[in-house]
């Protein structure tokens, strides 16, 4: 393939409040996933594995924390000269600046950034999706169809279709109607929120949209329906494979747990499409003489002395003696001290649960219990606490 002149704009979203305590201090793309990863690793690795080495990350947040995780992008091989990962928070320009008002507005405010690379194509992706995808194949499809816009699609169960942008296509995969979250969907072909645009066309569309006072400045709600209506060459690319939006606690929990199932179509162990991450440098994990680990994922730097079942331990986690961890996700450097039980819970980064606590439910009720318990990062649960199932525990400030 030739120099593809395709750059990516990654929508890293707002504060991701639907992830509750997990995103109170950390931008959503930087939330830990499946033990050693962070959510943004998947999109960035997809870019790297697709030869796309310039990525603009659009975030509302104060950029410092995300900055230090992404650093120079070298963790994802994205630090080539002329490329790289660039964090793009709202900035103060010639006029006083403002928050990004929507996904399309975020790109609009950075037209100058895109123009400085003079790309033929712009790939729009999202920072809260877990999937492995070769964007190149989609780009080839885009070129072959001589499309102006290509939307990557999934076939979803009909009952879920109204949660997505759904589209109706002609025989040639050209989209003839696009509806964002329709009450009565006329198709179950759903948008994954992954688009390729011809840049001059997108620039024009963004400028139009920015002048429309009625618009929410959103790709799915405004840009796409309008372009389809205008009769642009908008095509649907059919993606085959695992894809998951982790925008809510439930979907985040479920996607993590699916990593425990090796038969799942999403296999993080496949070396041909590796997921890279900017991991901390830690020694191998230690498993103590009294430990017992079953059907679980364990990362470097852990120290496991108790029992762990159907759970994910991110790097640097401590599990004390007599501890029982079940159906839970422990985020980096979480510590669970002796004789404590943690059931169907997500324990935030560097949170500490002291001795003899019960978190999530009484032992023995198992994973059928309703509700996922979430402990905010850096939170400390004192000795002997009992946290009922389904609670979201925030730190008091």
């Amino acid at each position: 393939m030739h120099k593809q002149k395709c750059i990516a704009m990654l929508l890293a979203g707002g504060q991701g409040s639907r992830l509750g305590p997990l995103t109170r201090n950390i931008a959503k793309p930087a939330v830990s996933f499946s033990g050693k990863y962070r959510i943004i690793d998947f999109s960035l690795s997809n870019c790297a594995n697709s030869d796309i080495n310039t990525v603009g990350v659009l975030t509302q947040y104060k950029p410092f924390l995300l900055n230090s995780y992404i650093a120079q992008g070298s963790a994802w091989d994205l630090d080539a000269p002329g490329g790289g990962v660039h964090i793009l928070p709202p900035y103060v320009g010639e006029n006083e600046g403002s928050w990004y008002k929507g996904t399309a507005d975020a790109v609009s405010q950075n037209i100058e950034f895109v123009d400085s690379y003079n790309p033929a194509y712009v790939l729009i992706i999202s920072g809260d999706h877990i999937y492995k995808m070769n964007y190149n194949k989609m780009l080839e499809f885009h070129k072959q169809k001589r499309a102006e816009i290509t939307v990557s699609t999934l076939t979803v169960p009909w009952e879920e279709a109204s949660r997505f942008g759904v589209m109706t296509c002609d025989d040639n995969a050209k989209i003839i109607r696009f509806a964002e979250k329709p009450a009565v969907p006329e198709s179950n072909l759903a948008s994954m929120g992954v688009y390729i645009f011809n840049w001059p066309m997108l620039k024009q569309a963004l400028l139009e949209d920015s002048k429309d006072p009625q618009s929410d400045h959103d790709f799915g709600k405004n840009i796409l329906p309008r372009q389809v209506k205008q009769g642009k060459r908008v095509f649907a690319y059919n993606f085959q494979g695992y894809w998951k939006d982790v925008g809510t606690i439930e979907s985040y929990y479920q996607a993590n747990m699916e990593c425990l199932n090796m038969e799942s179509s999403f296999d993080i162990f496949d070396a041909r499409h590796n997921i890279y991450s900017n991991e901390d440098l830690l020694p191998p994990h230690y498993v103590g003489p009294t430990a017992r680990i079953e059907n679980s994922i364990v990362c470097n730097g852990c120290n496991v002395l108790g029992e762990v079942t159907n759970s994910i331990l991110a790097q640097g986690v401590f599990v004390g003696e007599g501890v029982c961890i079940r159906d839970s996700i422990l985020l980096p450097y979480a510590k669970v001290y002796d004789q404590t039980s943690v059931l169907k819970s997500i324990v935030g980064e560097r949170a500490e649960i002291k001795e003899r606590c019960l978190v999530g439910a009484e032992p023995g009720t198992g994973s059928e219990q309703e509700g996922i318990t979430v402990i905010e990062d850096h939170h400390l649960i004192p000795k002997g606490s009992v946290i009922e199932a389904g609670q979201n525990i925030y730190r008091i400030r």
């Binding site: 499946s34 033990g35 050693k36 070298s74 425990l260 090796m262 993080i268 162990f269 590796n274 997921i275 890279y276 991450s277 991991e279 440098l281 830690l282 020694p283 191998p284 994990h285 230690y286 498993v287 103590g288 003489p289 009294t290 430990a291 017992r292 680990i293 079953e294 059907n295 679980s296 994922i297 364990v298 990362c299 470097n300 762990v308």
Partner: protein, 369 residues
């Protein structure tokens, strides 16, 4: 610390660990699950702020260069300084008595001439430790020393023969260097790490050119009165690996919580090549006890008192005890391994039994099983 450069000898011959290092080198031998032996010396250097390291490479240099790549993980991919490859002299016979062969430096004398640093830190790749040299360098500068030899006080009497002993005065100046077996307790011994003024090193190499196969310690000992030689103590965990027994025991040391704390969890990390393996997955049948497990493994069997490297597959019913399994091995169902050191990429077929013992761990080479 940009004022100090380093020379790291990666071409130790030694016992070659019974063939484990035949086409590799002791420097690039896997250690502690995810590390290579040279990571310890190299990380100690870069953690002290040194950003120019000359690595004397052995004859079989591929595995060592594979591991180091451009030196990125050690902050050595730089315009100024960085990692320099210094090919070592090729010798048919290697004497394990020589630590720092002067001919290796002489062959690469350009390295000393073009890097304008005040001091050179010299070390080898067969030691397990984590030492920040910042204080030693400050001591060296304050004393205006020509040479500072790093020493250790033995904890047990004569736990190793053939050590080089240092005799220091109250001001820590070295008055005598003696290679001898000593039964005495508390006689400091040189741990083969030293700081030397670049100018002094250059002069020694020049002056002893005709005797260039000797060890650098020899001219230092001979000129102990003419040179300002000081000693600086290192009191942390330090072990040297000469033999397979050493190699085995030092790996097993890492099952000790306190030793892991000292090596890996201080303010300075041991850097190594990052492989981006997925995390390790335990199956329903996994039974693991008192072991160190690296990333990328899939464990269905039993593991006890062992060190498991990256991406090892252990099938149900396999039993691994008191063993070291290197990266990418496959241990099939029902095998029994005891006191085995297993080279990387080795597959043990279903039901096979391999047993060594503590004094003679069984070394299984890549092609042997």
């Amino acid at each position: 610390m940009y004022n100090t450069i380093a020379i790291l000898f990666g071409n130790s011959g030694f016992d070659s660990l019974q063939g484990l290092t035949l086409e590799g080198s002791i420097a690039s031998t896997s250690f502690g699950g995810r590390y290579r032996l040279l990571d310890f010396a190299l990380s100690s250097m870069v953690n002290s702020g040194i950003r120019t390291v000359g690595l004397v490479t052995p004859r079989y240099y591929r595995s060592i260069l594979d591991h180091l790549g451009g030196g990125k993980e050690w902050f050595l991919d730089r315009k100024a300084g960085g990692l320099a490859i210094l090919p070592g002299a090729i010798h048919g016979l290697t004497s394990h008595k020589i630590n720092f062969r002067m001919r290796d430096i002489e062959m690469n004398i350009d390295y000393l001439h073009k890097n304008y640093a005040e001091n050179v830190l010299i070390s080898r790749c067969n030691q397990v430790f984590n030492f920040n040299y910042a204080d030693a360098l400050e001591f060296h500068n304050k004393k205006k020393a020509d040479i500072t030899l790093i020493f250790k006080i033995p904890e047990k009497p004569t736990d190793r023969h053939g050590r080089i002993h240092l005799f220091l005065d109250e001001a820590q100046r070295v008055n005598e260097i003696k290679k001898e077996d000593s039964e005495e307790l508390k006689v400091p011994y040189f741990i083969n790490q030293l700081i030397i003024r670049r100018k002094v090193l250059s002069d020694i190499i020049h002056g002893y050119k005709s005797l260039e196969t000797v060890d650098l310690i020899q001219p230092i000992a001979e000129n102990i009165q003419a040179l300002k030689v000081y000693g600086y103590p290192f009191s942390g965990y330090l072990q040297t690996i000469h033999t397979v027994q050493d190699y085995f025991e030092r790996n097993m040391d890492l099952l000790d919580h306190e030793i892991r704390e000292k090596l890996f969890w201080g303010s300075d990390r041991i850097h190594t090549k990052v492989r981006d393996n997925p995390p390790t997955k335990y199956g329903f049948e996994a039974r693991v006890r008192n072991s160190l497990i690296s990333s990328g493994c899939r464990i269905e069997g039993n593991v006890e008192n062992s060190i498991i490297s990256r991406c090892v597959l252990i099938e149900p019913g396999a039993q691994i005890r008191n063993s070291i399994i290197m990266q990418r091995c496959t241990i099939r169902a029902g095998t029994i391994l005891e006191y085995v050191v297993m080279d990387k990429l080795t597959e043990v077929k279903a039901g096979n039994v391999l047993k060594g013992n503590r004094d003679n761990p069984l070394v299984m080479k890549k092609t042997a099983v």
